[in-house]
C-alpha cells in the first residue's frame, strides 16, 4: 500500500475525454500518481463515478483518495459495472493527480490485486463508432435529404471532427486539446476576430484552464457547442408539424426546436432569451439553413470559452453529402463581441444502428461527498 507521484514532463498531453468534465482545470496530466490500497467507498454518480481508496503514505499515515473513473454511462458501455470492484478490494490505480493538494486523481487504469486483472483502462479518446457502409444520404419520398436515420433504422450523430469552433482560414491548424484549450495562448488572435475585451476574457478563461466553464456545472451547451458534446445528438424531423427537433445525448438531455413552417426569422424585442435561442430554418436545395437569435449570456457557445453577448446571431448550415457525414457550418455575427462576422465548422460522423446515449449531467452530485 503505497503512493508514488512522479513528474513526467515528457508525458503526452492527451486529455481523457470525460463528459462535461473540467479535466485540464482539475487534473495535472504532466504528473502521474500510483495508488494502492483497499476500496472504502464507491460513488456511482453522474456526471462522474469515483472509487475511494485508503492509501498509506510514506509516513505510514493513511490517506483517503478519491479516484475518478469516468461517467457511469461510458463505464457501462465499456463493460464496467457498479459491482466490478467491491468495498474492501485492494486495487492499484495509475492516474493523473489533481492540481493542488487535494487527495484526488483521474484513473488511467485500475488493477485488481487479487486477480491481477486490469479492470479499468481510460482511453485518451473514445474510439469513434464504426461507420455504416458507404451509402448515399437517405431521402424522403419527395427527394428531401433526411437528417435522421434511414426509414426503419436507428442511429444518431456522434463524433465531431473538431473540438472547438475556430474561424475557418487558410492558415495553419491551431493546436488545442479536446476541451478547446490552446497549446499556445498566443494563438488566441487566430481563433476568431475578437474585440479587445473579448480576447481578454477568452485568454483569462484559457489561463484558468477553463475551470469557469458553465457546461461543467451542467448548464446547457447552447449554440455550436451542442454539436461538440461527447454523447452526440439526433434530429427528429416532424415535417407535418413544420419543425425539426434536435435531441442532445449530452448536457442535460436538452432539446432544441428548429421551426421550418415558414415563420419569419428573428426575435421580438420582448422575447425571452434562452440557452438555445429561437431557430427558424429553411431548405436551400440539400442544405438546411437555420437562423438563430435570442441567446442569453449564461453559457459558452463553444468549447474553449469564446465569449458572446445577447446580440449573438448564428446562421447554421447543415448538409449531408452521404449517409455517414453531416457537414456543419456556422457563421457567427455578434458585433458586440467580434469585429466582423466569421465562419467555422466541422463534420460529424453518423453512428448507425444505435440509440442515442442517455447521459445525464447532474450538477453537484459529487459535492455530496462529505469526507
Amino acid at each position: 500500500m503505497f503512493k508514488f507521484v512522479a513528474l513526467s514532463l515528457g508525458l503526452a498531453a492527451s486529455v481523457p475525454v470525460a463528459a462535461q468534465d473540467a479535466f485540464s482545470a482539475t487534473y495535472d496530466n504532466t504528473r502521474q500518481v500510483t495508488l494502492k490500497g483497499p476500496i472504502t467507498r464507491i460513488e456511482w454518480a453522474n456526471p462522474h463515478a469515483y472509487v475511494f481508496l485508503n492509501v498509506a503514505g510514506a509516513d505510514k499515515i493513511v490517506e483517503n483518495w478519491a479516484v475518478q473513473i469516468g461517467n457511469p454511462l461510458d463505464l457501462e458501455r465499456d463493460g464496467w459495472k457498479r459491482s466490478t470492484v467491491k468495498i474492501g478490494d485492494v486495487v492499484t490505480v495509475d492516474g493523473y493527480p489533481a492540481r493542488g493538494d487535494a487527495l484526488q486523481a483521474f484513473a488511467k487504469s485500475v488493477t485488481l490485486a487479487r486477480t491481477g486483472a486490469k479492470v479499468f483502462t481510460a482511453a485518451p479518446k473514445r474510439t469513434a463508432a464504426a461507420a455504416a457502409a458507404p451509402a448515399p444520404a437517405p431521402r424522403w419520398p419527395d427527394g428531401q435529404v433526411r437528417l435522421g436515420p434511414p426509414p426503419g433504422k436507428k442511429g444518431y450523430w456522434g463524433t465531431p471532427t473538431a473540438s472547438a469552433l475556430v474561424e475557418r482560414t487558410s492558415g495553419p491548424v491551431i493546436s488545442m486539446n479536446g476541451e478547446g484549450l490552446l497549446k499556445n495562448i498566443s494563438d488566441a488572435d487566430r481563433v476568431a476576430p475578437m474585440q479587445p475585451w473579448a480576447k481578454a476574457i477568452y485568454e483569462y478563461r484559457q489561463r484558468r484552464l477553463l475551470q469557469d466553464d458553465p457546461f461543467t456545472r451542467c448548464l446547457p451547451p447552447g449554440g455550436p457547442r451542442q454539436f461538440q458534446t461527447p454523447h452526440g445528438f439526433q434530429f427528429v424531423e416532424q415535417r407535418e408539424l413544420g419543425r425539426i427537433l434536435v435531441l442532445l445525448g449530452g448536457g442535460d438531455r436538452n432539446w432544441r426546436i428548429i421551426y421550418t413552417d415558414g415563420r419569419p426569422a428573428g426575435q421580438g424585442d420582448d422575447a425571452v432569451l434562452t440557452y438555445y435561442g429561437t431557430s427558424v430554418g429553411k431548405w436551400e436545395k440539400d442544405t438546411l439553413v437555420v437562423d438563430v437569435a435570442g441567446f442569453n449570456e449564461r453559457f459558452w457557445f463553444t468549447n474553449g470559452g469564446l465569449p458572446h453577448t445577447e446580440a449573438l446571431h448564428l446562421t447554421e448550415r447543415f448538409s449531408r453529402p452521404d449517409l455517414n457525414t453531416l457537414k456543419y457550418e456556422v457563421t457567427v455575427d455578434d458585433p458586440r463581441t467580434y469585429t466582423r462576422p466569421w465562419t467555422g465548422g466541422w463534420n460529424i460522423q453518423w453512428v448507425p444502428d444505435q440509440d442515442i446515449p442517455e447521459y445525464f449531467c447532474e450538477d453537484n452530485a459529487e459535492t455530496t461527498f462529505v469526507r
Binding site: 483517503n64 478519491a66 487535494a102 487527495l103 484526488q104 474585440q195 479587445p196 475585451w197 480576447k199 481578454a200 476574457i201 483569462y204 478563461r205 484558468r208 475551470q211 469557469d212 458553465p214 456545472r217 448548464l219 449570456e297 449564461r298 453559457f299 459558452w300 465569449p307 458572446h308 453577448t309 445577447e310 446580440a311 458585433p335 458586440r336 463581441t337 450538477d363 453537484n364 459529487e366 459535492t367 461527498f369 462529505v370 469526507r371
Partner: protein, 129 residues
C-alpha cells in the same frame, strides 16, 4: 480532500454556475462610496455594453445620473467612470472614479477603487447583483 474543500467546490459551482458570461461590465452593480469607512453613500450603477461603448446610469430613479463615460481597459481590467452629479445642496459635483475588476468569472464580480465627487476623495466598492 477535506470537508472544507468539498464545500468550497460546491460553493464555487453555485456561484459561477449562473454567471453572466458576456461583457464583464454589463449588469447592475451595487455598493457604496465614501471618504471614510463610516461615511458611506449607497451607489447603484446600471451598465450596458453596446459593442462600441459602455453606457449607464447611477442610482436609477427620479434622481438618477447619466454616466458621461465608462471606459474599460481589458489589459488591466481597470475601469474609469465619469459623471456629472449634484451634491446635497444641489450644486454641480463631478464624479471621477477609477477601479479594478476582480473575480471576473463570478456573477458577483467586484469593482473597487478610488472615487472623487466634487472636492471629496474617497473609495468605492461595488458588487454585481
Amino acid at each position: 480532500m477535506s470537508r472544507g474543500l468539498i464545500f468550497s467546490v460546491g460553493l464555487f459551482a453555485a456561484i459561477t454556475g449562473f454567471a453572466q458570461q458576456g461583457h464583464p461590465l454589463t449588469g447592475t452593480w451595487s455598493g457604496d462610496w465614501g471618504a471614510s469607512p463610516t461615511q458611506r453613500n449607497q451607489v447603484t450603477l446600471v451598465l450596458n455594453w453596446d459593442g462600441k461603448q459602455v453606457s449607464g446610469i447611477m442610482n436609477p430613479g427620479p434622481d438618477s445620473v447619466q454616466l458621461s463615460s465608462v471606459y474599460l481597459d481589458p489589459s488591466t481590467w481597470t475601469v474609469r467612470i465619469e459623471a456629472d452629479a449634484k451634491d446635497a445642496s444641489g450644486k454641480p459635483a463631478h464624479i471621477s472614479a477609477e477601479g479594478r475588476l476582480e473575480d471576473i468569472a463570478s456573477y458577483h464580480r467586484k469593482l473597487s477603487g478610488t472615487w472623487k465627487q466634487g472636492t471629496t476623495n474617497g473609495d468605492f466598492k461595488l458588487t454585481r447583483d
